[in-house]
């Protein structure tokens, strides 16, 4: 109890200058005084947090509000934070204005396929790295780890040359191959498998289960939280990926929603409202996925600590 209060102090004190006085009063460990101080502290903290989150959410508010305005109403002096009239038809018109459905479909296709392959091959390989002992295993894993530290931008050109040579530039397959076998999934899943006690797989081995059986029947069910984390992170990063599609996809009918939106901005520079409508539509699926699996997201990031 007291520790929560303590941390609250150290927090409020850091933010606004006004937070100093009441919290300093609380440094004496006396109960009567600290109670009133605590209430003041709570109120202050809530005020600071609400103001901060409002500030951080301004871009989203702008996006939402602008998406139902007329193009001419987006930039006004002063800003209309509540539109004069709501133009919901923007959300109906955008489907014919640009091939939004194709873009969304492409994004969905790529995200689902890449996520599926990444989770499947990642967890499979991670089992080999975590639970099967064989010569050369650790050296191999080091190679995986080492490449996580190399920025992707440093080897994108040779990747591109390879794809060009095998004729896969401007296909969805190129992106699937590039992104489905990343080291990240292996790394994340291996971390998790190592926390599962060796005795479990040992007992299963004695019961006559093959290694593949252990992976399928014991490890997979046990690692559901880690699988969910990996799946969600991969899905969102693939959905949001800009550079991959930007480099590899040139045909309009293959474009993802990110590319489609960007080209819309390039061509119709002044269709502000419609651009924001498209932005809202590109963020919406992520919001849904995120709200459904929020817990796994945060866990995945906190345990792996990497993208």
């Amino acid at each position: 109890m007291s520790t929560t209060v303590l941390r609250k102090d150290s927090a409020t004190d850091g933010a606004p200058p006004s937070g100093g006085a009441p919290s300093r009063a609380r440094t004496e460990p006396r109960r009567g005084r600290s109670r009133a101080g605590r209430v003041v502290g709570q109120v202050l903290l809530y005020t600071v947090l609400t103001a901060l989150s409002a500030a951080i959410l301004v871009p989203f508010a702008w996006m939402l509000v602008s998406s139902v305005k007329l193009d001419a109403e987006v930039f006004t002096v002063p800003i209309q934070w509540i539109p004069k009239s709501f133009h919901w038809e923007n959300f109906a018109d955008i489907w014919t204005e640009i091939p939004m459905l194709t873009y969304l479909g492409n994004s969905l296709f790529l995200s689902v396929v890449i996520t599926f392959l990444q989770v499947l091959t990642g967890s499979f390989a991670a089992y080999g790295f975590a639970k099967v002992r064989f010569p050369g295993r650790d050296a191999l894993f080091l190679a995986y780890i080492a490449t996580i530290a190399v920025p992707w931008q440093a080897y994108m050109v040779p990747q591109y040359i390879i794809m060009q040579r095998i004729g896969l530039v401007d296909t969805h397959l190129s992106l699937i191959l590039l992104q489905a076998f990343g080291a990240f999934g292996v790394f994340l899943m291996r971390q998790y498998y190592q926390s599962i006690p060796e005795e479990l797989s040992e007992a299963a081995r004695l019961d006559g289960l093959s290694e593949y059986g252990i992976w399928a029947r014991i490890m997979l069910p046990l690692s559901k939280p880690a699988l969910a984390s990996l799946a969600l992170l991969t899905f969102v990063f693939t959905w949001n990926d800009y550079m991959g599609p930007f480099i590899y996809l040139t045909s309009n009918d293959l474009w993802t929603v990110q590319l489609g939106l960007r080209s819309f901005v390039g061509v119709y520079d002044s269709r502000y409202a419609m651009i924001m409508t498209g932005s809202v539509l590109s963020v919406l699926p992520i919001l849904v996925v995120f709200l459904l699996g929020q817990r796994h997201f945060v866990q995945g990031i906190a345990t792996s600590g990497m993208k």
Partner: protein, 300 residues
């Protein structure tokens, strides 16, 4: 007789385990080797060759690097990347640490706030870039309207000005990334024992002192990790800048990754772009190694 039989049986079993182990790793490894491992090694070699879309690779030693040192674009990209890193790293670090400390409490509704702060990180990048371009629009954007309202007569031109385009990009990127590092810091805060705060309080340490003498040292491993991640991320920055400014105006936000893309993929100068890639890699590597050394010295 029996011992040799045992030995062969053992060897056979070992070979079996090796095969089983490889069979697990292989599906992922094939893709990984062909499209990550080979390209990484290829970058190292190609950097010393002259090769473009129309020619065959030819070993030229350090020619590419000499050319790079004479190139204005390279120096502009290097200094812009450094500028971005110097702005992005401390600001993101401070913002994420501040948010984590503020949000590390058992308060009603704190979960909602954490979500709010984290959400920019997973918002689609194009939407982020486009919205910030609008918010920072020089004449009628909300940011400059606010600045004018508080008395700034000539607010910055942001992405339309060569002086202010990089700060504009940094603002958007800090906004986007701080939620991610906040999650790392929140995880780190869980590892600081409550007794330490208790003890500091008994010793009469005020909140500010407790922050500096308990929270900050307790978070040192997390901060180190965050710093390394932030450094790598800053030096390879690409997509946000590509969408917000495309490296402009002029080349005021041209960064190394963009230069690699332009030279290697747009122009097809494979050798030269690999040399720049190698420099980018060594830069990131060098800074990370220095950070590791400093961290180790600190632990001793």
């Amino acid at each position: 007789m029996t011992s040799t039989a045992n030995a062969t049986a053992l060897r056979r079993r070992r070979r079996r385990t090796t095969l089983v182990g490889w069979s697990f790793i292989l599906p992922n490894f094939l893709g990984f080797a062909a499209l990550t491992l080979v390209p990484v090694v290829a970058t190292l070699l190609l950097a010393f060759t002259n090769w473009n879309s129309y020619s065959t690779p030819e070993w030229v030693g350090l020619d590419n690097f000499r050319r790079m040192l004479d190139s204005d674009n390279f120096w502009a990209a290097l200094s812009n990347t450094t500028y971005y890193a110097v702005g992005h790293i401390p600001l993101t670090l401070a913002a994420s640490l501040g948010l984590a400390v503020l949000l590390n409490q058992k308060l009603r509704g704190v979960g909602v706030l954490r979500t709010a702060f984290f959400f920019p990180y997973i918002t689609s990048l194009v939407a982020v870039a486009v919205v910030w371009n609008m918010l920072l629009s020089p004449d009628v954007g909300p940011v400059n309207q606010l600045l004018k309202a508080v008395g700034v007569a000539h607010p910055p031109g942001w992405t339309t000005s060569t002086d202010w385009s990089m700060p504009a990009v940094i603002i958007a990127s800090v906004w986007r990334d701080m939620g991610y590092y906040m999650v790392l810091y929140l995880a780190g805060l869980q590892t600081i024992p409550a007794e330490l705060y208790e003890a500091a309080r008994v010793d009469g340490a005020g909140p500010w002192k407790r922050f500096w003498h308990v929270t900050v040292p307790g978070l040192r491993p997390t901060t180190f990790f965050v710093l390394v991640m932030l450094t790598v991320a800053s030096f390879k920055v690409f997509d946000l800048i590509q969408v917000m400014t495309e490296g402009g105006p002029g080349r005021s936000t041209l960064v190394l990754s963009q230069l690699i893309f332009r030279e290697g993929i747009t122009q097809g100068r494979f050798g030269y772009s690999s040399a720049i890639s190698l420099v980018l890699f060594l830069l990131v590597m060098g800074i990370t190694v220095i950070q590791f050394q400093l961290q180790r010295r600190h632990e001793r």
